[in-house]
Amino acid sequence: MKTTKVQLSVFCIFALITACKHEEYDITKGIDTQVTLFGDEVSLPIADIGPVTPKELLGDIDLGETLGGMFKEDEEGYLVVEKEDFLYSNPVLLLYMGLQDPTQPSDIPLDDFSAAPGESLATLTGLGLTPALQEFSLYAGNPLTEKMAVSGKITFSEGLASQTFSKEAISAQADKEVFFQTAITDGEPLDSFNAEQMTLHLPANVLEKDPLGGWSSVSLGYHYKAYLALGSDFPEGLEFPVDNLNVPLGKYKVKEARIRAEVSNEIPLTLVLENVAVMTRETDEEGNEQVVVCEDVSVTSNITVSSGSSGAPAVSPIEIVIKADEGTIPDIAGLRLSLSVKAPVGVSDHRLNMNQAVSFNHVRATVYGGITL
């Protein structure tokens, strides 16, 4: 009996050892192949984006024409209001015939002239733009083979000091030689000006000095150029929709992502991202798909990009955190950006230029909580 018990015990032990199968590891029930990689966090560098300029963003679109031709882009890319016109033009022959003694140098008084080169600035000021720099110049055309001179007084619109010029020489056979110029940098728009006490100082024997025998014309004109900048009364709040994004984050079950970058900005404006609403697609009870704001996802707000200027960009570090308050971040159909645009302050160059670049350097991301596949 004792022998039988021993034999049976040993037999059972070996039967158990060899038959130990652990049913909970039965793979015929199926293996869930879903994996969540990088469960704590995964960081990676993404890219250096830019430089990107407004000109590249707009492509073939002419911003000035789009806004009714109120301003244009000059050859260097600056946004400007530019005007040029003749004030006076008279053939040499007519001038000669009015001289008492043509064999002597003569002074010919001219009528007063006035013009309103900056009248369109009023509309632009209403849009929130302001003249950062205004350049005003007078030029003359001298067809004679000897130099002549011009004297006079310029009186500007209220707020700007008048200026005089005396016997400013005009070179022989000059086409459009500038004999007077001034720059206004205080932002006060130059609505109008008046040219008074203008006098032409002609050389002797003026007729013989005209290669066309008197049929050339002596001319006077003005050139006005206002460089635009963002004004202090530019509308601060802007809603900027970003549609048709279609970022398929939902399937990766991401909970939180942080994106960082250094923004290098040459555009003279301060941009504040005050709020970002994440849009997602939802299907209503009737089966209609619509794009709605996703309440369960929050995005960092109050991100500021400082203003810079051409050749002197301002670098602003930014950090955007996208977080799912509940569950995971869904597929992103679009964004609604609430932006605040502020005019720059300080003495730097505030002129707007279509070639001013923005770069997003060292864009990098960290995803927290893993990526599920």
């Binding site: 039988t4 037999f11 793979i27 869930d32 960081s43 560098p45 250096d48 990107v52 893993g370």
Partner: protein, 439 residues
């Protein structure tokens, strides 16, 4: 008595209890009076220092992998080794012939051996499971290998006295195929600012059957071969020695020691390659308006892929010879027959196997065996080793002049149902052989 016989037969029937004729110690044949022919012996060994339960986890009514979100990092990574490795070896002895000489005993053996293995450092799984916070990562020592070679051996054992014998076996190794992929250096640094990859890996591959072509840049093109798939010439040759000693100081007691597979093979790797270099990724550069278009971004990503592959892909190198040792095994053993009943003996063995390329293995066992001459024998043993508790059974049965023998060794920890894949670290060995005893 009937119950005892029935008990013995049950063991035999249920657990394939057969005794392995262990002539691996070349000194053991010195005391044989008759010759033998081994008609064939199959010997397979599989070792793994991590089991399936380190990678699969029960979750409800199904299984999930260790990378599933429901499995914590501690639970998954805690079950892995610094270097998780699998090793498999199959020895097939085609035929052996032994005959008694004037003084000693001679043996001639012909066989084929195959071994393969895989080692993966834990940091691979650490990176995948937790992410980049623990940067930098040292993924060196990743290895995958396989070798196939033939063995032609001549052995001689000599009794120095009636108590002591020595023996040796010289083996000519004929290399058939070999592949060995080793990362000598694989460092990976991941930060938000940059990823840095530093790689130095060798791909040793013989070209017995086919020659792998290269592309125009010199990289191995595994989709393009020359040569037909016939059995080609050997691609390696080597020598190995087995040494043994058996000592019987007094009646009933036997002690033995052996050193097996001391040697290696000089392989010729005609399809060798090398992956070497460093790559730093700091983000895609110079993405202007034109580059941000979808098709151009795709082009940038393809360029990035090609740059990384330029470091990772193996470049062909000229054929070269490389000597590689085969796994060395050292064994010690002792047995003592019971004076009250000589068929019953107790024994103790110790084993150590050293590898260049996998975690070494050791074990120590104690057991008992009943040997009924000319009829059958069976034995049990148990002990511990690198992977914990081990146990084994062995048996043989004689019929006419034939002897069928087998042994089975395993650990504990269970297996995946119906798959016999071990759940824990394990060493499993199966030997089956047929011997013809020359009368």
């Amino acid at each position: 008595m009937k119950k005892t016989v029935l008990f013995i037969l049950c063991f035999f029937a249920l657990s394939s209890l057969t005794r392995a004729q262990d002539f691996r110690n070349p000194a053991q044949t010195a005391f044989l009076e008759k010759g033998f022919v081994r008609i064939g012996e199959y010997n397979s060994t599989s070792r793994n220092n991590v089991g399936a339960s380190s990678f699969l986890f029960p979750s409800g009514d199904k299984l999930v992998t260790g990378l599933h979100a429901s499995v914590s990092a501690d639970a998954f990574l805690g079950g892995l080794k610094t270097l998780s490795s699998l090793y498999s070896q199959i020895d097939y002895n085609l035929v052996s012939y032994g005959w008694k000489g004037s003084r000693g005993f001679h043996t001639v053996e012909i066989g084929v051996k195959e071994n393969s293995g895989l080692s993966v450092p834990k940091e691979v799984f650490l990176l995948l499971k937790t992410g980049t916070a623990s940067s930098p990562y040292d993924l060196s020592a990743m290895r995958a290998f396989g070798n196939l070679y033939g063995e032609i051996a001549y052995g001689y054992s000599l009794p120095l006295s009636d108590k002591l014998s020595i023996g040796g076996r010289a083996k000519l190794l004929v290399g058939l195929n070999s592949v060995d992929v080793l990362t000598r250096k694989f460092e990976f640094s991941t930060t938000e600012q940059q990823y840095v990859l530093d790689l130095d890996a060798d791909i040793d591959l013989t070209n017995r059957n086919k020659k792998i072509n290269t592309d125009e840049e010199g990289y191995l093109n595994y989709a393009s071969f020359t040569g037909k798939g016939r059995l080609g010439i050997p691609t390696g040759a080597g020598l190995a020695l087995d040494l043994g000693l058996v000592w019987k100081p007094f009646r009933g007691f036997t002690a033995e020691a052996s050193l097996l597979d001391l040697g290696g093979i000089l392989w010729y790797y005609g399809n060798g390659g090398k992956s070497s270099g460093s790559y730093t990724f700091e983000g895609l550069k110079d993405l202007g308006m034109e580059e941000l278009k979808e098709e151009n971004i795709g082009e940038k990503l393809r360029e990035l892929r090609d740059e990384v592959l330029g470091v990772v892909r193996p470049k062909a190198v000229n054929g070269y010879c490389k000597a590689k040792a085969i796994p060395l095994t050292a064994k010690l053993g002792a047995s003592y027959s019971m004076p009250f009943w000589e068929p019953l003996s107790v024994n103790a063995t110790g084993l150590y196997t050293g590898y260049r390329f996998c975690a070494p293995y050791w074990e120590a066992r104690g057991g008992a065996e009943v040997s009924l001459p000319g009829i059958a024998s069976f034995g049990l043993n148990a002990g511990c080793g690198s992977y914990g508790f081990v146990w084994g059974v062995r048996s043989s049965v004689n019929f006419l002049s034939f002897q069928l023998y087998a042994s089975y060794e395993n650990g504990v920890g269970g297996t995946i149902p119906y798959e016999s894949i071990p759940l824990k670290a394990n060493n499993k060995r199966l030997v089956v052989g047929l011997l013809y005893l020359i009368k």
